[in-house]
Symmetry: C4
Amino acid sequence: VETTRLETFSDGVFAIAVTLLILEVRVDRSGSLAHDLVAAWPSYLAYVISFLTIGIIWVNHHTVFGQIGRVDRTFLFVNVLFLMAVAFIPFPTSLIAEHLGEEEATPAAFTYGLTLTVTAVCFSALWFYAVRAKLLRSDADPATVAGISRSYLPGAPLYLTATLLALVLPNLSVAMYAGIALFYVVESSIFGRKVVEGGRS
Amino acid sequence: VETTRLETFSDGVFAIAVTLLILEVRVDRSGSLAHDLVAAWPSYLAYVISFLTIGIIWVNHHTVFGQIGRVDRTFLFVNVLFLMAVAFIPFPTSLIAEHLGEEEATPAAFTYGLTLTVTAVCFSALWFYAVRAKLLRSDADPATVAGISRSYLPGAPLYLTATLLALVLPNLSVAMYAGIALFYVVESSIFGRKVVEGGRS
Amino acid sequence: VETTRLETFSDGVFAIAVTLLILEVRVDRSGSLAHDLVAAWPSYLAYVISFLTIGIIWVNHHTVFGQIGRVDRTFLFVNVLFLMAVAFIPFPTSLIAEHLGEEEATPAAFTYGLTLTVTAVCFSALWFYAVRAKLLRSDADPATVAGISRSYLPGAPLYLTATLLALVLPNLSVAMYAGIALFYVVESSIFGRKVVEGGRS
Amino acid sequence: VETTRLETFSDGVFAIAVTLLILEVRVDRSGSLAHDLVAAWPSYLAYVISFLTIGIIWVNHHTVFGQIGRVDRTFLFVNVLFLMAVAFIPFPTSLIAEHLGEEEATPAAFTYGLTLTVTAVCFSALWFYAVRAKLLRSDADPATVAGISRSYLPGAPLYLTATLLALVLPNLSVAMYAGIALFYVVESSIFGRKVVEGGRS
């Protein structure tokens, strides 16, 4: 029952963070509306990258909680820290939306990457704490557990690389954030067609 | 259990997208408050059309998930793409609210229609993927499945027609978005009085 | 199961509408911050009245759904219309917050009352449709059903009276919106101490 | 079943209040973007303090509801009042974000503290009402109940002290809000490692 409430709260934060992203999509008026709507493409791109990224985090959170059997207070607070990072994402998204392709793209892309790096670190902390504190369900599959542990290792270093790249090549850095998200979605969809669960019945 | 969490997340996005619409209802001050509140009618109209449209999508999502027995990762990501389109709706809604009846109504109505067309395409993709990947529940009723498949065919072309209509007659295009929503609600309410489910007990 | 999803969606809209109210609490800067925070009292008052009113509607929605055994499509759409009215409340709340005590209080209080009247009408429609379409659970208590039917009759006329009062005495009209909410909370708390449900076990 | 719906609604308000905090994180432009992002540190600090504080309140609400066996209407309304205080937190958070370190920090820190004091009072009222009205579950553990009762006593006076401190030393007052949150998280994580629940199985 309690794990359910933790998931409900987490899903609420995911759903709200993802939906608030649209509030950062804005049109700066300078010419005709048609022209300005086209010129606002960095807004749309930032929306798509952040939506996909949070969507992927949600799918992974979902996978992790499938292996959790019980929680303690430390786990609850690590989860709060993790959600604090996720809920922060709309802010650097608005920076990307406003400054991509401009002179000040570097601090925008850097802040965005820093947020994703911290999010990845918190997510790894959540998982490794659960493993170490023996919070996994008694019937957790060792292969799945090892697979999750392995698949979370590259997240933080990848995002940190993209963050540092922002200092010299901010546009390439944003392309890398998009690439990581796309790679994950495509890879999951091709190799991950095995059924995830037994459904509602 | 897992389908439940997918539905909770989806319902969260629907509920937030629909409730955020009110943030786009604004009064531009130019005369008395009474006058300006009346002059803001395109805001209210855009609010009603988008609320009804998202409400209908929610009811349909609900119908589709009633037939789903299990999900895989591809399905999860198609659902994320679909929600990305739904959560985008408040943005073109604000364009309609601001520009309906003005000279620049065309790009507003076009962007609105494009968003609904993409939403309809993603929703069809979600359903047809579920059918092809055999994710339906084992006891799914073939007549209901065929009915859903049939009823989702006209959505995307209808919205595409209204979108193209916006290029020449934007007001008529908005009337068509309203008409599609109203038709669906009225048709459902008259012909759809059969009981949907067995309830909570 | 399906009634649960309808309640989740409705609760989501209630929770978001109520929490978005805070975005309308703003301080207009004219003197010192301390002075301006005090001068913003109509914002706080509007926040409290709307929060209590939506809270009461939520409690009542909760009571009604306790008697519903099954739903049909018409019921789903009447519920969507009802939620459309509830989610509209933050807009007139912002009008009250900005114009109470000013010259233009009348259109603000009138719009606020109109929204609550429409909400009350939709809520009555939801309930009376459920009764007429025989959607109540088979073990619904006739006394409770008659009690709900009786208690929803005065809502719409009361709010309509306050709405019309706004045309001549807008401040008194706002006092009446506050009074209705307070009366309901106090009355419920004194006479409604009987246990509502059997709890979680 | 009904307690579940109450928790869903409450969790919705917690999740939304916490996620809306990001809308108050804004960059005032005065120099380079990099400079302005650094200068916006009070925004980030206010975000972190409020997120942690609401997160802690959520964890405690969770603990309390674990002991509740049934609810009555009075309890529902005390919970609504409590949520009204929680949902108000983003407003004084924005005041802190804007005025910390400035001349007008006092009214900002005072309003923030007042909101947290009222929240703590409402939370204590919720718990003590539940105890007095015998709403606890029949198998509630007396030691846990006594522990909760004891642990909620210091909340309101602590926040009231910090609130009054704001009148003379606003920065120290904000440090105290941060300190209370940090102390609670660290203390819980060290001494609270015992397993909270039996999990999902």
